[in-house]
């Protein structure tokens, strides 16, 4: 157990360290002189030299890297070129929007994915299985940004029941906030729901044929109790990891979803940083994403090994 924990922890730290190197070098590999960008395109050489010195850009790369890492550790990710605000502050402002979106999307995904997955497994070879499978296949084949566009066309343009875009903070007006978040959440959640549905179905099919389910049936438990209490409960182990593995889709999907529905979240911020060539912001955004991703993946792995002891034994033996 401890060996597995320690190994995963060390691996994650190495990956995180390499990721900071990649982010750092990646930003410096970009075309153009950062000092010139920071000082403004029309600055004279004197001003550019001053900026270069004040940002430490005249130092050798390893020195710059260590300095950058030291600052990042204390939460100082630099200052946005475009707005002049600290990068940390900008990111902190955008994060709640994305966290709400991610939370609601996951809720939608789990509700739809689990229920259709169970139905498809229980009603094998029936019209319900066929319907759930078709929906899952469609969910995997429809690009979610187009799904969002069709949602806007139907609910905002044609029916006029939901706003097409924009964001209202939850604390300002909870009802309006949810009205604006429901479409983005369904769009982002549907992509993940399809994956959860397929995994739930195959995990359920497996546990429904297991001995303990036959025993439960044989001792006369009601059908729904066997399905929900025994089969589903054991299938949840697999589903948990799958949910964890969807974090990448969630993060990438947030970029696209926020772009379609014009939500001022983290994904939108990422694109803005790219298109305005705001290098410090870009660096901060990518670093935060990679860190969050690595840490969350580690947590999912650990959670998984807590739920299923076979994993940590197998993992330690490898």
């Amino acid at each position: 157990m401890n060996r597995y924990l320690a190994r995963r922890l060390v691996e994650s730290i190495i990956t995180l360290f390499l990721a900071t190197v990649v982010v750092f070098l990646g930003i410096r590999a970009l075309p153009g002189d950062p000092a010139r960008v920071l000082a403004g395109e029309e600055s004279d050489p004197q001003a550019i030299a001053e900026v270069r010195a004040s940002y430490g850009l005249d130092q050798p790369l390893p020195v710059q890297y260590v300095r950058y890492l030291g600052k990042a550790f204390t939460g100082d990710l630099g200052t946005s070129v475009r707005t002049g605000l600290p990068v940390t502050e900008i990111i902190a402002g955008a994060l709640p929007v994305t966290l709400e979106l991610a939370f609601l999307a996951m809720l939608v995904a789990i509700l739809i994915g689990l229920s259709t997955g169970v139905i498809a497994a229980v009603r094998r070879r029936g019209p319900l299985e066929w319907a759930s499978n078709s929906v899952a296949l469609l969910g995997l084949s429809i690009p979610n940004f187009w799904f969002g566009q069709m949602g806007i066309l139907l609910f905002a343009v044609l029916l006029g029941v939901l706003p097409a875009s924009g964001f209202v903070p939850f604390l300002d007006d909870p009802v309006e906030n949810l009205r604006r978040m429901i479409m983005p959440a369904v769009v982002l959640g549907s992509a993940i729901a399809a994956v959860i549905m397929r995994q739930t179905r195959s995990a359920m099919l497996e546990s429904l044929t297991a001995d303990f389910v036959r025993t439960a049936r044989a001792k006369g438990l009601p059908r729904h109790q066997v399905i929900l209490g025994h089969a589903l409960r054991n299938s949840l182990i697999v589903v948990t990891t799958v949910v964890g593995l969807q974090l990448g889709i969630l993060i990438s999907g947030a970029v696209v979803t926020e772009s379609i529905f014009v939500l001022p979240g983290f994904g939108r911020l990422t694109l803005d940083a790219v298109f305005t060539r705001d290098y410090p912001l870009m660096q901060g955004v990518v670093l935060i994403t990679a860190t969050a991703y690595i840490v969350l993946n580690l947590l999912v792995d650990l959670l998984y090994s807590v739920i299923d002891p076979r994993i940590r034994v197998g993992g330690a033996a490898l």
């Binding site: 691996e11 190495i14 990956t15 995180l16 390499l18 990721a19 990649v22 990646g26 590999a29 970009l30 075309p31 296949l137 469609l138 995997l140 084949s141 429809i142 690009p143 940004f145 187009w146 566009q149 069709m150 806007i152 066309l153 905002a156 343009v157 097409a164 195959s202 099919l205 974090l247 990448g248 889709i249 993060i251 990438s252 970029v255 696209v256 772009s259 379609i260 990422t270 694109l271 790219v274 298109f275 870009m282 990518v286 994403t289 990679a290 991703y293 690595i294």
Partner: protein, 294 residues
């Protein structure tokens, strides 16, 4: 002497593969998928011959965007350009990226996976590299590459291909680890076969099924990936048509030209759906464990 060891190894996957091919050919859904995919490739290749208008030709005989009509089957966009012609040319970008990105991930990922699975000392290095690539969500990686390389079709291919390399490495590595323990691999070594011979003649041919299954998942993903990148302005750039670019330019016209958003998206859905059906059919046919469930 070698022939004795080789015979069951080289022949067997071929036999099962022929049986798998027969099973795919008997699967009606997979055949529908295959027909649609072939049609799409054909349309993409023949786009200049089939398209009723040049893709950049503007038509202002009526206020743009024009709704679908006998003249413009799928309507026109805000610049009066024929949507049907643009969809045909946009298919080219989809097909090119779908094919080349996956090719890139196979060319880089399969050898790395084989080596990592075969040589224990290489495994940690390759695994850290895949972890590193996986440390960045796909789109963030693509955004980074698009910034460095500048948005283009080439960028889309590289960004998506690189994003798919870790998965390709993992699948190939897993298969190699499994196959390395097989008796016939031990027999080949005992018979004096070198590492390269074992990898190339005994392990790779048997790992092809798993790689193929992975590729069938990746091709539709790459096509959607191209549309997403182009939609965000990080892939194909206007005026070159791409289905993603068309959907992006439809955004301000939800009220005045909803057809601009509907048709390019429908084409993507039909193409990826067809690829997924074909892929599911192949997977069921190649994987005897799964086929009972389908």
């Amino acid at each position: 002497m070698t022939a004795v060891v080789d015979a069951p190894v080289v022949k067997e996957p071929r036999l099962t593969r022929r049986r798998a091919l027969r099973r795919v050919l008997r699967n009606p859904l997979a055949m529908v998928g295959l027909s649609v995919v072939l049609l799409a490739v054909l349309l993409a290749i023949l786009a200049p011959l089939i398209a009723p208008f040049p893709y950049e030709a503007t038509d202002f005989t009526a206020p743009a965007p024009q709704p679908p009509s006998g003249h413009h089957w799928l309507g026109t966009d805000e610049l009066g350009r024929d949507q049907f012609s643009r969809v045909l040319f946009g298919l080219r970008a989809s097909v090119v990226v779908g094919a080349l990105a996956v090719l890139l991930s196979v060319i880089v990922g399969v050898p790395l996976g084989l080596l990592a699975g075969f040589y224990g000392w290489l495994d940690p290095i390759v695994s850290r590299l895949t972890d590193l690539l996986l440390a960045f969500p796909f789109l963030i990686l693509a955004v980074g590459l698009a910034v460095i390389l500048g948005p283009s079709l080439f960028t889309a291919v590289v960004a998506i291909g690189v994003g798919q390399i870790p998965g390709m490495i993992r699948v190939t590595r897993g298969e190699t680890l499994r196959l390395r323990g097989m008796d016939y691999v031990g027999a080949a070594f005992a018979n004096g076969a070198g590492d390269l011979t074992v990898l190339g003649r005994h392990i790779l041919p048997n790992a092809v099924n798993a790689i193929l299954v992975q590729a069938t998942v990746y091709v539709p993903a790459a096509i959607i990936g191209e549309a997403v990148l182009s939609f965000l302005g990080l892939g194909v750039r206007p005026p070159t048509p791409s289905l993603g670019v068309m959907l992006a330019s439809a955004q301000p016209f939800y009220h005045d030209g909803p057809w601009m958003a509907v048709f390019p998206g429908l084409v993507i859905v039909v193409l990826t759906l067809a690829l997924n059906l074909l892929g599911d059919g192949l997977r069921d046919a190649l994987d005897p464990k799964e086929s009972g469930r389908a």
